[in-house]
């Protein structure tokens, strides 16, 4: 599996309240959530994001609330992968559970600039910066998490294992 797109870059501690403000959590409709994604941090995000784009951020991405609405909003907005230095743990779980690819890679998170053209090979964990002609290696997922991802998330994994 591969992803290709331009980088949309943010800083450290991007919290779930700015990813999807609570005032919109009176619905769980994915398209409606996506229409407000990132709006308190970057009003233009939803206008500029294109299918396949890669979100790049610093430390502790997704800190705060457990709302799964946050990775859902990002996924449905068209983002193909999030690269960050580190992820907050509930966000990390949620992203894997709903099948939103995320990669921890400090080097890429620091070096990639907003607007760079990025390609990601999920099998090898290699991130290519086509604009800067550089490659970075992400932290590969443990085997169990790879199984979750290949089952398209936790629900798929449980269904597969329950019917065994």
């Amino acid at each position: 599996m591969r992803a290709n797109g331009k980088a949309i870059k943010y800083g450290n501690n991007v919290d779930t309240d700015v990813i999807i403000p609570a005032r919109y959590l009176n619905t769980s409709d994915p398209a409606e959530l996506a229409s407000h994604c990132m709006e308190d941090l970057d009003k233009d995000f939803i206008k500029k994001v294109k299918n396949g784009d890669v979100m790049v951020a610093g430390k502790n991405f997704g800190c705060g609330s457990s709302r799964e609405h946050a990775p859902i909003a990002i996924k449905v907005s068209g983002i193909s992968c999030i690269i960050a230095e580190t992820f907050a743990r509930i966000f990390y779980r949620n992203a894997i559970n709903i099948g939103l690819p995320i990669i921890e890679c400090r080097e890429a998170a620091v070096d990639i600039s907003d607007g760079d053209s990025i390609s990601i090979d999920f099998d090898s964990g290699v991130i290519t910066n086509n604009t800067k002609n550089k490659t970075y290696s992400g932290v590969p997922f443990p085997e169990f998490m790879q199984q979750l991802i290949s089952a398209d998330g936790l629900v798929g994994y449980i269904k597969k294992n329950m019917t065994k």
């Binding site: 501690n13 919290d15 309240d17 700015v18 403000p21 609570a22 005032r23 959590l25 009176n26 619905t27 769980s28 308190d40 941090l41 430390k59 502790n60 800190c63 705060g64 609330s65 457990s66 709302r67 799964e68 609405h69 990775p71 859902i72 580190t86 907050a88 743990r89 509930i90 779980r93 949620n94 559970n97 709903i98 443990p142 169990f144 998330g153 936790l154 629900v155 449980i158 269904k159 329950m162």
Partner: protein, 419 residues
């Protein structure tokens, strides 16, 4: 090598002799929790799994507390949806308006969590129950769905940071100040993926309400859980509130910790977290002159009876500043009634404060006290992110109930010692 308290609980619930940090395990769950925001998504995922029943109708708690009493039609639809699910599944612990409270104040009070339990909740502040010596952690809706279907969850066994507490808190200083101090010291990702284990002789002088408030904010340091040694106070609390069997786990003497800190409680001053991160802390003597528009005293962090009593002690015979709205929210029906019976509501209302029915409401910018552009609030809640309590250009300052009440009177961030 020995195990930490958290590791021991997880090993036992995974049916393993030993676990070590980094190991992936599947653990049996004693309780699965959800609220009115996270449960609708969990119900949809639960249906996709394709089972017809929950794993145990006694081991699931659903608490509509965030946008309740329903603030608008969409919120009402969400609550109706989860209520119908709870009825269909025969879920025993569904708490309707009139029974409910802010979930993390309610569950310990109802005796649904005891020492040694493994609890997951689709709410990040589920880590609160570590105060009772339980392993409890926040997860998302899909994990909640899987937990409801299977009674199990996967975990990466965390390493731990040890906090050894000594000494005694000064007057007006509370567990909230201790945890804000710690978050200021280690940062909002200082305990990322880790347990925060609290131990030491100072623990015996922290009340259960102090401990619940501290464990509650472990997540604001990025922690997987916060957990306290079980002592006489814990057991007294559990026996008063629950008939569930409990189990006491103690960290091995040779358990390994990634870091250890000694905290002298007597040195901690009232602490305020400035916008827009809980780690932006300043002691009360260094806050400067910050005029405020609103005070909120309540939430899963500080809506318990001791918090109400402290606020009343400061507000008694005084008036809320004419430029300030002071909103006080006892976290459960029981705390509400207790506050009323103790005469605290007379003090609040006479001072010019408003008293609300239990709700998370303003903490997450839901309802019952939203901030306009440029407005500032002192809140006893747990997060001060951009837009947390309303307009993206509003500001939240996190503090203890004592500082919040003093600030309501002064019209600016103030120390209780000034009042």
């Amino acid at each position: 090598m020995g195990m930490t308290m958290t590791q021991k609980i997880l090993a036992d619930h995974a049916g393993l002799e030993n676990v070590k940090a980094g190991q992936l395990i599947k653990a049996k769950l004693d309780l699965v929790l959800g609220n009115d925001i996270t449960t609708p998504v969990a119900v949809k995922e639960f249906r996709k799994i394709g089972v017809s029943k929950v794993f145990d109708k006694n081991k699931i708690a659903i608490v509509p507390d965030h946008f309740t009493p329903n603030k608008d039609i969409k919120s009402a639809e969400q609550v109706k949806f989860i209520k119908e699910f709870a009825r269909e599944m025969g879920i025993v612990n569904y708490f309707e308006i009139g029974q409910m409270g802010v979930e993390h104040a309610l569950l310990p009070e109802k005796g649904l969590v005891v020492a040694g339990d493994v609890v997951i909740g689709a709410d990040s502040h589920t880590c609160t129950y570590g105060a009772l010596g339980a392993f409890s952690t926040g997860i998302g809706s899909t994990d909640m769905a899987a937990g409801m279907a299977t009674g199990e969850a996967w975990f990466k066994v965390p390493e731990a940071i040890k906090f050894v507490l000594k000494g005694k808190l000064r007057k007006w200083v509370s567990g909230k100040d201790v945890i804000l101090h710690i978050i200021g010291m280690i940062g909002v990702d200082g305990a990322l993926y880790k347990s925060m284990e609290f131990t030491g002789e100072g623990l015996s002088r922290l009340s259960m309400d102090d401990r619940l408030s501290m464990a509650n904010m472990a997540i604001e340091a990025g922690g997987k859980n916060g957990i306290f040694d079980v002592d006489e106070k814990t057991l007294e609390y559990i026996k008063e509130h629950s008939t569930k069997p409990y189990k006491i786990y103690k960290a091995d003497s040779d358990a390994e910790y990634s870091e250890a800190y000694e905290i002298d409680l007597s040195e901690i001053k009232s602490t305020v977290a400035f916008p827009h991160l809980p780690e932006n802390t300043r002691t009360i003597d260094k806050v400067g002159n910050v005029a405020i528009d609103q005070v909120v005293i309540g939430s899963c962090t500080n809506g318990r009876i001791e918090d109400m009593r402290v606020a009343a002690a400061i507000l008694k015979g005084r008036k809320v500043h004419p430029k300030v709205r002071c909103i006080i929210i006892p976290a459960t029906q029981k705390i509400w009634k207790q506050s009323m019976n103790e005469g605290l509501f007379d003090i609040f209302v006479d001072s010019g404060a408003a008293v609300s029915t239990p709700t998370c409401g303003p903490c997450l910018g839901g309802h019952m006290g939203i901030l306009a552009k440029g407005e500032r609030a002192v809140a006893t809640t747990n997060r001060n992110f951009v837009g947390r309590m309303g307009h993206p250009e509003s500001e939240v300052y996190l503090a203890s109930p004592a500082v919040a009440a003093a600030s309501a009177i002064a019209g600016r961030i103030a120390s209780p010692d000034e009042i």
